[in-house]
Symmetry: C2
Subunit: 650 residues, 2 copies
């Protein structure tokens, strides 16, 4: 366990808190970390940082099959747990999280039987090839074509334009033998929309690209150095009819197209993946915080009045950087646990009762939580890195790789703005329904009697009152109602002037995203509160209650504008909120180390020199392992720098 464990003198038991955060997976979480930490191939090695892409790829290939041998990858939790353990992405992660699940969800029984066992054995390795150079967010406009040839009972796949080149596809550049590919289906010249196909891209023995396939790596990126995001161009590539995934939509031998009964189900894979991204917003932020909080207790800078150097965590500004993020991290963790429950319930209803009723609500929730939480973790990690001062820029701080690996989460699996617009559409519909007194999901119950709601005002007059989450919950509920209402009014006004589509895109976009964000804050706060009131342990409930209040107050402080526009708060109340926040800091500070200890990362998982018992010794030691410090390189260099110095004299 972590080396600063001895520092923990906190008001609650961190194992019990850990159980609350990981629930039934608590022991698995600890065990997976132990397994990885003691395996010589899997354990993290500071010398791997800064390796060239090819060397890194090799190292992470080895890790991939070691993991595959050690762990049960059909256990849904495993890929997510494994990802956080390494500074770079493990090769074949897309195979595990996208290729296999897509076939499981969209394939027929027969297709599953055919493709899943060899996939699980790594006889084939797949990827998920949806995005093209020209279109990512707008899937309906993909340009790749799949034309059915009745004569041979094959589909012929083509990349008709440069912009139709598949692009960004993880595991495709170097690794994959197969791709789940999205293409516009044509039968007898008639267009049937985007369908999903399994296309073999490389020979499973020679690993050479097959005929008609042009495939490669998209080139260097921001982070993701081990990951072979690839491109794919197809020129008359023929695949058997059985390689269209046909659980829902089908094409018969004769070329008859049978439409899916319920198209929504095609979205099931995405739901799973989005949930794991949301979970990762918790894990990555937790990892960053574990490093940031521990180091801030160790690092000392400037002397106090007694000439003793202060640990930087004592500075109010440093607390302001880290403590609110701890609250966010717990909020996101509990939010995700709740989403997982809803996801399970949804799948159960679908498979057991063909009941799709939860689908829309869950979709809306996933979209906004994915957007809001990924952004928060993304910016939070940057704040943490900066809070480490210069050392935060070193790979050996551990935070750099967490940050660069996390960053694309804001973009892939639905670009965040585009996702917020989707939740916005749902909220608009719900608002209309509520006005007509139709049933809407409990998550948006605040939309009933909205005008009455909006006439309320905050009544608190003292900071202590804000230690009660219920008061904050009511405020945040008003705030969500205010922004959904504002969006609706603006949409009505602008649709009148410009028509609904133009209004939506050109005039109301910002309001729509605001409504989604306000809704997400409220839902997250509510979920946090629901979680904590069920906690038996009084010590834990008490610290969680403070974190929950802080989560809410920080949202108000960072984005108070609606509270004023709506007339819910006045200037004095805002000052009270600021004071309450300061007060909560003093309550949480003694428990800070305990709160990050509860995330239960072992030292290997944190892979940070800054949490070592002797950070400075460790940093120096790691530096000496850096490849540019070895003798061979230094010799080469000497001639280079001599040249540099002697040049001008020529």
């Amino acid at each position: 366990m972590s080396s600063s464990q001895d520092l923990v003198k906190c008001s609650f038991n961190t194992d019990d808190m850990g159980q609350l955060l990981y629930k039934e997976n608590y022991h698995k979480w600890i065990k997976v970390q132990e397994l990885i930490a003691k395996d010589p191939i899997l354990q993290n090695n500071v010398a791997d940082y800064g390796q060239s892409r090819d060397k890194l790829y090799e190292i992470y290939c080895k890790k991939a099959y070691k993991l595959h041998k050690l762990l049960n990858y059909s256990d849904e939790m495993i890929p997510g747990m494994v990802n956080s353990q390494f500074p770079e992405t493990v090769v074949t992660v897309l195979h595990q999280t996208m290729f296999i699940p897509t076939i499981k969800y969209l394939g027929t029984e027969k297709q599953i039987e055919k493709w899943i066992p060899p996939s699980q054995n790594y006889e084939i390795v797949g990827c998920y090839a949806q995005t093209e150079l020209g279109h990512g967010s707008d899937v309906q406009s993909l340009e790749t074509t799949a034309v059915y040839d009745k004569g041979t009972e094959e589909f012929i796949l083509n990349s008709p334009t440069i912009s139709s080149t598949k692009w960004w596809i993880g595991d495709l550049g170097l690794t994959a033998t197969h791709a789940v590919t999205h293409a516009q289906l044509f039968i007898n010249g008639k267009h049937y929309g985007v369908q999903t196909f399994i296309v073999q891209v490389r020979d499973t023995h020679t690993h050479l690209p097959l005929k008609g396939i042009e495939v490669g790596d998209v080139g260097p990126k921001y982070g993701y150095n081990t990951k072979d995001n690839g491109y794919l161009r197809m020129n008359n590539v023929r695949i058997p009819r059985e390689q269209m995934l046909m659980r829902y939509s089908k094409v018969s031998k004769a070329g008859e197209f049978i439409k899916a009964q319920n198209e929504k189900i095609g979205y099931a894979t995405m739901m799973q993946v989005r949930t794991s991204i949301i979970y990762n917003t918790y894990v990555s932020l937790a990892q960053g915080l574990a490093i940031g909080v521990k180091y801030s207790h160790f690092r000392r800078q400037f002397k106090d009045k007694n000439g003793i150097e202060r640990p930087i965590i004592d500075y109010q500004t440093q607390q302001d950087k880290l403590i609110p993020l701890v609250a966010d991290c717990y909020a996101q963790g509990f939010g995700c646990l709740r989403i997982r429950d809803i996801l399970t319930e949804n799948l159960k209803r679908i498979t057991e009762k063909n009941d799709f009723s939860l689908m829309g609500d869950l979709h809306a929730l996933l979209c906004c939580c994915k957007a809001v939480y990924t952004w928060n973790t993304h910016f939070g990690l940057d704040k943490i890195r900066q809070s480490l001062g210069g050392h935060g820029f070193l790979q050996s701080s551990g935070v750099v790789s967490i940050q660069t690996e996390f960053a694309p989460s804001c973009t892939y699996e639905g670009e965040n703005t585009v996702l917020l617009l989707q939740t916005g559409r749902y909220l608009l519909k719900a608002c209309n329904k509520a006005q007509k007194h139709q049933t809407i999901n409990e998550n948006v119950e605040y939309l009933y009697n909205i005008q009455q709601t909006l006439s309320q005002k905050a009544t608190f007059t003292r900071a202590e009152q804000l230690l009660c989450p219920e008061i904050i919950r009511k405020l945040m509920r008003l705030h969500a109602a205010f922004y959904v209402n504002k969006m609706m009014l603006k949409m009505m006004e602008k649709a009148g002037e410009h028509g609904p589509k133009e209004a939506w895109n050109k005039h109301v976009g910002v309001s729509i995203t605001e409504a989604s964000i306000a809704h997400t804050y409220y839902w997250t706060f509510k979920t946090f509160l629901d979680t904590l009131i069920k906690v038996q342990d009084e010590n834990i409930r008490s610290v969680l209650s403070n974190l929950c209040c802080l989560y809410g107050l920080q949202r108000i402080i960072d984005w108070p504008i609606g509270y004023f526009e709506g007339g819910f708060l006045n200037g004095e109340q805002l000052e009270i909120i600021l004071n309450a926040k300061e007060h909560i800091f003093t309550l949480i500070k003694p428990d800070l180390l305990g709160l990050v200890e509860s995330f239960k990362f072992n030292d290997n998982a944190l892979r940070s020199d800054l949490v070592d018992a002797k950070p400075y010794e460790k940093l120096l030691q790691s530096a000496k392992l850096s490849s540019v410090n070895n003798e061979e390189y230094q010799n080469k260099l000497r001639s280079l720098t001599r040249q540099l110095r002697e040049m001008p004299k020529l």
Copy 2:
């Protein structure tokens, strides 16, 4: 010039705007770019992305001496102009921007004569070794020692602890032969504080470390791949007495310490460097915006009601990401021009009249502008990258390297929070002086009669009124006064309870940073306004006026809390502000391409496939040049992936 120039149909002449942004350096800026673009060693090459550190270092060494041959580096503007031209930092940049200037500012005439010519000829290459593992922000607590040995007339330098290891020193890891080093001076056992020494670290012929010197690279980092940030440990390293920089403080042969008459002057180097960092907040943001704005006019996603795909710039949300940053960029550009003028004036007063009166004001201004502008550019670049969707993550987008190279600006040359606290201290003093009716600098004139000021309220009632910058200026002035006053009240209250030092660090820190930020916003707005009213050209003045208003309004929208606490604005006025912002978007949008064209980057400087006439073709072409796509690597890989697939069957 840029390939999207043909798109420019804007209301003003972009060359004239460029002249306003670069003033007397306009032609130099164009010329330097041309020179670099056409030189085969200097011009950017997409194949360089993703190279290993050693290969990159080699490439950038070659660039360094080519630049040195082509350009006049003693021209102050050159290093800054050159830096923006390459995706990675050019080797020896610290030699140019820190080593040489430190000697020039802190050295005696004799020292300058001895060290500058060989430095300018690259016979020696230097670095600036201040920071240690244990102390960065707190320079007074550095642990390196320099003990004067009267017998030999030498200083003996030592790194007595691990935490005293010099760390992060740019150009030290591989390149430097010499270091300007900060150490605690001791003479006859008596301590004389931190002084500055020139220490030779490597032999100028063999390039091997000298006796007693342990030196190396600190290891892989976030970005900065070409840069050999290094560490240094010294064990009884002896240097002649003449290698202490003695323009101000001196040590005589006999070991007598003569204290500097005015210690502030030692800070002059830093002032120069901070100014160039501030200038770079403009250049880097401008570069990012040129890419983001152009690509957003090209990229199309989703069809409009006529089935035509919309350029993404048409989405309100996309405008909201980019347009305010354009305003910020102009504001920061003009802010920096003003700072440069003050810097010049300050140096003139010092050298001509030994008049240090401007020093304190300039210092305070540099600290807060450095902090606020670097953060804004840092977050702005991230927003721009995300606004490019997936393609933003590619190195070939150009934005990734701008972002990673820029990031440490928030930390080095004064960690941002620490700098804001310094300006806060200045503001507090100024506030006290103003209360006593003593003279204070015009930048803080708002502190006179502060109570009267704070009783004011905004009176506007219509969005059109907010097209007048003067109304916004008054509001922002109130806001600055409010936060300085708030800090002062809080400081008085908390100092009473805890004593001034504890209060400052533990209880008022956040308020202090807020006061500094509010002050920076107001100063920047005022400077923007001062600039634009002097513009003769009506078209330019009109677009600048809109940008200036937008700069101010966006500050209010993003951070409205003080306007409410202070009672300066009510909820309805806030709504008017939001409407005014939307209105300004419609005014600026047609000029957007012109506004980024005015930054006058050529294609080589932008080094972005996304601004090519055919971006998708170009991206694909660049990908093919990626090192992992070459045949040799692919062959090696094939055996690796085969292994990966065949493993589990064993």
